[in-house]
């Protein structure tokens, strides 16, 4: 092999090694750089096998649109006395377009509501991590959803997990990914589409 080709080949191999080493190092040391890591945590939760079960469990069902970006939303977490993380949530302010089901004490003239979602940025010493329960992703600003909610221990409405909200306008691909099998999501989405065809602005994928 001519000397030039040999040199080019050696450099290419060296670049390959350095690139992979850098990728690996970056992944392992993301925390040290102060970036917010995204972490999916495992949770066990009530499973809704069909839409009726979800509707029966839900105290409030609305069509609504988030008004703020995720980073502008309130983030909360609780800990045990030894500092171990107990629970977390972010609070999403929604503009209500329609109320489908509500308890008798719910003011149906309300035009907005703040709801808890199982995803939040949690402080860890000098850094932060975005924790998601079982792959839940936050509802996106300006996207429209049908949302199934129940009152939590603090008296606020909370989204009933990943099967508790369905994007209606096709603008949140995190929600409409057909591959998602979490808690019968795909099947429930089909039932939602069949029950509320007038709400579907863009056929879910």
């Amino acid at each position: 092999m001519p000397a030039n080709k040999k040199r080019i080949f050696s450099i290419a191999v060296a670049v390959l090694f350095v690139t992979f080493a850098f990728i690996r190092y970056s992944a392992d040391h993301q925390e040290a750089s102060g970036q917010v890591r995204e972490v999916n945590v495992e949770t066990d939760s009530i499973v809704f096998h069909n839409l009726k079960e979800l509707e029966d469990f839900s105290q409030l069902i609305i069509v609504a649109t988030p008004t703020k970006k995720f980073n502008d939303r309130s983030q909360k977490s609780t800990t045990f006395p030894d500092g171990t993380l107990q629970d977390f949530a972010s609070f999403n302010e929604l503009k209500i377009a329609k109320v489908i089901k509500a308890p008798s004490d719910f003011d149906q003239t309300k035009t907005w509501i703040e709801v808890a979602e199982p995803v939040a940025i949690v402080k860890e010493g000098n850094s932060s991590a975005k924790l998601k329960k079982q792959g839940y992703t936050e509802m996106k600003k300006d996207s429209q959803y049908i949302i199934y909610l129940s009152k939590n221990a603090m008296g606020q409405y909370s989204v009933n997990g990943i099967t508790g909200r369905y994007n209606l306008d096709g603008t949140d691909t995190d929600d409409t990914d057909a591959k998602i099998d979490e808690g019968h999501k795909s099947q429930l989405r089909e039932e939602v589409e069949a029950k509320y065809p007038e709400l579907i602005k863009s056929k879910m994928k």
Binding site: K6, V39, E42, S45, T84, L85, D87, I180
Partner: protein, 205 residues
């Protein structure tokens, strides 16, 4: 020289392959494992005795211990002294959510919550929410199932799915038709199944 070049290429391909292994699993357990192996110690936080859940967790540990895999065991030290970062189980109160009754956080040795799917982890915390158990009238068997399920997460077992896809796009193997698993999500009453023992054998041969 041809031989030298092929050696370089082989080394580069092998190293690239090893470095790029990051996501995904091809069975219902994660690529990530506990760094020190699956013979573990589980410390019960004082909340266990306060809420009366000690017998439930004792039964859950016994469920896995009776599988007879010498590489998997759950002991129960009565003190944390001398055990380093051992696993801890807590009974908590869910302030924000209405559907989640348990969760497991996996930690690095430095104490950061990490994604358990692909990362090796150092220790874990299991959280069980008494108020969600109560709100959904959990039976003894259902609480034991939940604790057995979370113990499964602490040794790297994942949630099985029917389609082979999870919410965050990871790939698993679909559970055979008719097979049950304690690692299924939901308010279920059955404990360790034949399928779980076989997955454990694959993970810890």
């Amino acid at each position: 020289m041809k031989l030298a070049r092929s050696k370089w290429l082989t080394i580069a391909i092998i190293v690239s392959g090893l470095l790029s292994i990051s996501d995904g699993s091809y069975a219902n357990y994660w690529n990530g494992s506990r760094a020190a192996g699956a013979n573990t110690n589980v410390y019960y936080d004082s909340s266990f005795a306060s809420y009366g859940y000690t017998p439930h967790m004792d039964q859950a540990r016994a469920n896995w211990n009776s599988v007879g895999n010498s590489k998997v065991s759950f002991a129960h030290p009565l003190t944390t002294t001398g055990y380093g970062n051992l696993d801890k189980a807590y009974i908590g109160y869910h302030s924000f959510d209405t559907t989640t009754f348990a969760g497991t956080w996996h930690y690095s040795s430095s104490g950061s919550v990490i994604d358990n799917w692909s990362s090796n982890f150092d220790h874990a915390s299991m959280i069980f929410y008494d108020n969600i158990f109560a709100a959904n009238s959990f039976t003894y068997n259902q609480v034991v199932k939940t604790m057995t399920h979370e113990l499964g997460h602490t040794i790297g077992l994942a949630h099985p799915t029917q389609t082979g896809y999870t919410a965050d796009g990871d790939v698993t193997t679909a559970v055979p038709v008719g097979a049950f698993s304690v690692m299924y999500k939901g308010q279920l009453s059955y404990w360790v199944q034949t399928y779980d023992s076989s997955e454990l054998k694959k993970k810890y041969p």
